[in-house]
């Protein structure tokens, strides 16, 4: 099994996961690199992504499994070749043999940039730090069996806030990537639900890294 480490940023953040699953196989086709296809009536490229990324979120740590067919170019040459065949914002950083399975991914580190149009970033930082210091954070969250009140505090492994100028609060968080998985977006939902007076006017989410059980970077 082979693996790509790639970024999905900027305009590409608006591409859905399904769009991505069409775009990457096409990039292989364009690059003239043959990869394994499924058998059957409607053969399609055999690719899988570690953790589907929500629309609007960016990432610098996406992982995708594929399998080069024998006789294809070397993995070292692949990033350059694919990058000329991918849309703006999707950039392959590395191609390599996958040694560890996706199931060893335990956590996800993300940066959330919260924008406050009316300023007051310092006070917001203080208030949010206090909010996330609570032992329980119950929000109405979508689960497999519909919307349910759920305590998301256990899923937030670490979280910190820091003001960056008058209008911006930067949040660094690590959330569970194992069942029950927590989308970093839940941090914003917590703010909007439990402290609506501190709801941001706009926010961005950027995935920074995937982590294993020891907290080391998973690639």
């Amino acid at each position: 099994m082979n693996r790509l480490l790639f970024e999905k940023t900027g305009r590409a953040a608006y591409m859905s996961h399904l769009d991505l699953m069409r775009t990457v196989p096409r990039a292989f086709m364009r690059a003239g690199v043959a990869i394994k296809h499924t058998e059957g009536f409607n053969p399609h490229a055999f690719v899988s992504v570690a953790m589907p990324l929500s629309v609007y979120q960016e990432s610098i740590c996406e992982l995708l499994n594929f399998e080069l067919l024998p006789g294809e170019i070397s993995l070292e040459q692949l990033p350059e070749k694919l990058n000329s065949c991918l849309p703006e914002g999707i950039k392959v950083l590395k191609a390599y043999d996958a040694r560890r399975p996706f199931k060893q991914i335990e956590a996800l580190e993300a940066k959330i940039t919260l924008t406050y149009d009316r300023g007051g970033a310092a006070e917001k930082t203080e208030a949010l730090t206090e909010l996330f210091g609570r032992s329980q954070l119950v929000i109405n969250k979508k689960t497999k069996s519909g919307y349910k009140d759920t305590d998301v505090r256990p899923g937030i492994k670490s979280v910190s806030f820091a003001a960056a100028g008058e209008n911006i609060v930067e949040c660094l968080c690590t959330v569970s990537a194992k069942e029950p998985v927590l989308n970093p977006e839940a941090v914003v939902t917590v703010i909007n639900t439990l402290a609506p007076e501190h709801a941001p006017d706009f926010y961005r989410i950027m995935r920074l890294s995937l982590r294993d059980a020891e907290g080391k970077i998973f690639e």
């Binding site: 305009r11 608006y14 769009d19 775009t23 096409r26 086709m29 003239g32 849309p87 703006e88």
Partner: protein, 608 residues
């Protein structure tokens, strides 16, 4: 991307429609002439349009010219744009449309007219040509609708008639000269009218008779009395963009489209495309194979579609399919044909298109009875349809779609019922010949409401009323004897409005504007189309839509589009109309030339 835009993209569906950034988009900075190429419908429709892709490449290939794409926003995005003061922008760079020199529209469907106004308004550009005084924001429109662009004459500065590959660069060069030398708009438009194929509506005065018909079309300031459409003579040399933009989201035609030829040898009397794209000009097999290979390689698509008005009339079709399959099969790439003629459908052809993947078959007999098929010159016999279906069923296909029109000139109830009978006979073919009955069969009959179009033998005909159309739909529905055949029909209201706009004149400009003011948007979409609103616009403007839709014109009447020459003589249309009334066929162009006149555009050559 600006944060202001990002904020509103969070609130709309399918934001990828509005971001750009796809593979192979072209960004050229600091060009002397900038063109905003507007498609008055959604991204996924516009990006499926081959003409737009070709002209995008043509313009961007010009030195010092930049062309960027603009699509219509869906209602949710429009609302956000208006509330947040985000003007209409081009996808490549986000530059506001108002900052472009030339604002070009491609018009393929009359129901997009309200969206042209809406896009100008969203751009912050005055709607009326007369209110745009300078040479900036010149509004030009092309596409099949502009063979009668009169309903949009108030809003559009210049109409580009015919194929743009060669004509548009001439227009842009003139624009560059005018811009560099500081010409007035008046001077520029007068000069543009001297380029062949460009119609400047403000240079024509239209007067009317007391009965509402056109009294005279008077060219002003020495403008030409007749404007002849432009064509590309040598299709092998025509630019075809093989490094096409690959949308990141799914679009309607998400595949490589190969255009085998332009024009059509068939001469179906209802078909505007069949006349306005004449004369027939083909690409060679070598050109097509090379274009297919390059496009598939540069796009990564795994499907190629053969697209022409009647692809099975391409002379070397077998050679082309063989060559394509040789390339496609090992790459798991499929080959598809959008619709087939029943009279030259063969086992071999079917096997070729199904080799990689199998999809449904579509035939368009257009009319149920032989008499009516002869009257419209469809040139397809019932045994052709049944034979084609039998071949398909024997080959293992189990889905057939049959397309018909209701309201064709001379149609009687017998002709309507004959549609059900034909579908039933197709079902019987399946029962007798299907190779695999276990999978069942899906036969779908679809009917649309005939819209008489300019530049066809039926340009003088009345459209039947909506009530009559609905009666015939019900008659057909009641004639279907089995549930194994599905029946869909088009909404009559859309086709009635389409008929009024298609053969309209300049007096419809105020109706379109009123409808837009009342909220008309994206009228081709059932979610947004509001018929009552349009009827209110007609009545508030004191214009009767029946005058345009359901009135039969006299053959000596001056038609609003008489200043436009598509290459086919009016006498030919009259002859075809009279043959239609006698249920008489004309041969196809290959079997016998009827001297329509279109070869004059190509130095006497047609279908060589």
């Amino acid at each position: 991307m600006e944060e202001k835009l990002e904020r509103i993209l969070r609130k709309v569906q399918k934001p990828a429609r509005y971001t750009g950034g796809e593979l192979n988009q072209i960004i050229k900075e600091n060009c002397g002439v900038n063109v905003a190429f507007c498609f008055p419908d959604l991204y996924e429709i516009g990006m499926s349009n081959l003409g737009m892709r070709i002209l995008y490449a043509v313009m961007n290939k010009m030195e010092d010219v930049s062309c960027q794409r603009v699509f219509a926003p869906w209602t949710d995005m429009e609302k956000e744009m208006r509330e947040n003061d985000v003007p209409l922008y081009a996808l490549e760079t986000g530059k506001p449309v108002k900052e472009f020199d030339i604002i070009a529209f491609t018009l393929g469907y009359e129901m997009a007219y309200s969206q042209v106004l809406n896009m100008l308004d969203l751009a912050g550009v005055p709607l009326h040509a007369a209110d745009r005084h300078g040479i900036e924001n010149i509004v030009i429109a092309g596409g099949v609708c502009v063979y009668n662009g009169e309903p949009l004459a108030d809003f559009v500065d210049v109409f580009s008639l015919g194929e743009g590959e060669e004509a548009l660069p001439e227009f842009i060069d003139l624009y560059r000269k005018a811009k560099n030398e500081g010409w007035s708009k008046k001077r520029f438009l007068r000069a543009a009218a001297d380029i062949e194929g460009f119609y400047v509506p403000s240079l024509y005065d239209i007067s009317y008779n007391s009965d509402g018909t056109v009294a005279a079309i008077t060219p002003l300031d020495g403008a030409p009395a007749v404007i002849t459409k432009r064509i590309v003579r040598d299709m092998d040399k025509a630019l075809y963009p093989t490094d096409m933009i690959v949308p990141s989201m799914e679009i309607v035609h998400d595949r490589v489209t190969l255009e085998l030829f332009r024009g059509c040898i068939r001469g179906c009397r209802f078909c505007q495309a069949g006349y306005v794209y004449r004369p027939v000009r083909s690409k060679s097999v070598e050109t097509l194979l090379e274009q297919a290979r390059e496009s598939l390689e540069s796009s990564g698509y795994q499907e190629v579609s053969l697209s022409s008005l009647s692809s099975s009339d391409y002379r070397p079709l077998a050679d082309l399919c063989d060559g394509l399959l040789e390339y496609c099969e090992p790459r798991k790439t499929s080959l598809s044909l959008p619709s087939l003629r029943a009279d030259n459908f063969s086992v071999e052809l079917m096997e070729k298109v199904q080799k990689v993947r199998k999809s449904g078959l579509t035939f368009a007999p257009e009319a149920g009875s032989q008499r009516l098929r002869d009257a419209i010159n469809k040139n397809v016999r019932e045994e052709d349809v049944l034979n084609a279906c039998r071949v398909a069923f024997e080959g293992g296909w189990n889905q057939v779609k049959l397309y018909f029109m209701l309201g064709l000139p001379t149609e009687t109830d017998e002709d309507v019922v004959a549609i059900a009978e034909l579908a039933f006979k197709v079902l019987r073919e399946w029962k007798m010949h299907a190779s695999n009955k276990a999978r069942g069969v899906r036969i779908t009959v679809s009917t649309s409401f005939f819209v008489p179009k300019p530049h066809t033998p039926y340009q003088w005909e009345q459209q039947i009323t909506m009530e009559e159309y609905e009666r015939r739909c019900t008659l057909l529905k009641d004639s279907m004897r089995t549930k194994a055949i599905g029946y869909n029909w088009h909404d009559g209201k859309t086709s009635y409005l389409e008929a009024a706009l298609a053969r309209g004149d300049r007096r419809l400009g105020k109706v379109i504007e009123k409808a837009w003011e009342l909220g008309a948007r994206l009228d081709g979409w059932s979610e947004t189309f509001d018929f009552d609103l349009w009827m209110r616009a007609f009545s508030e403007c004191g214009v009767d839509p029946d005058f345009y839709a359901t009135r039969e014109r006299g053959e000596d009447e001056i038609l609003p589009w008489d200043m436009v020459f598509v290459g086919v003589n009016k006498e030919h249309f009259k002859l075809e109309r009279s043959l239609s009334r006698k249920d008489r066929l004309s041969p196809d162009c290959r079997a016998g030339c009827m001297h329509c006149g279109a070869d004059c555009l190509n130095g006497g050559k047609c279908d060589e």
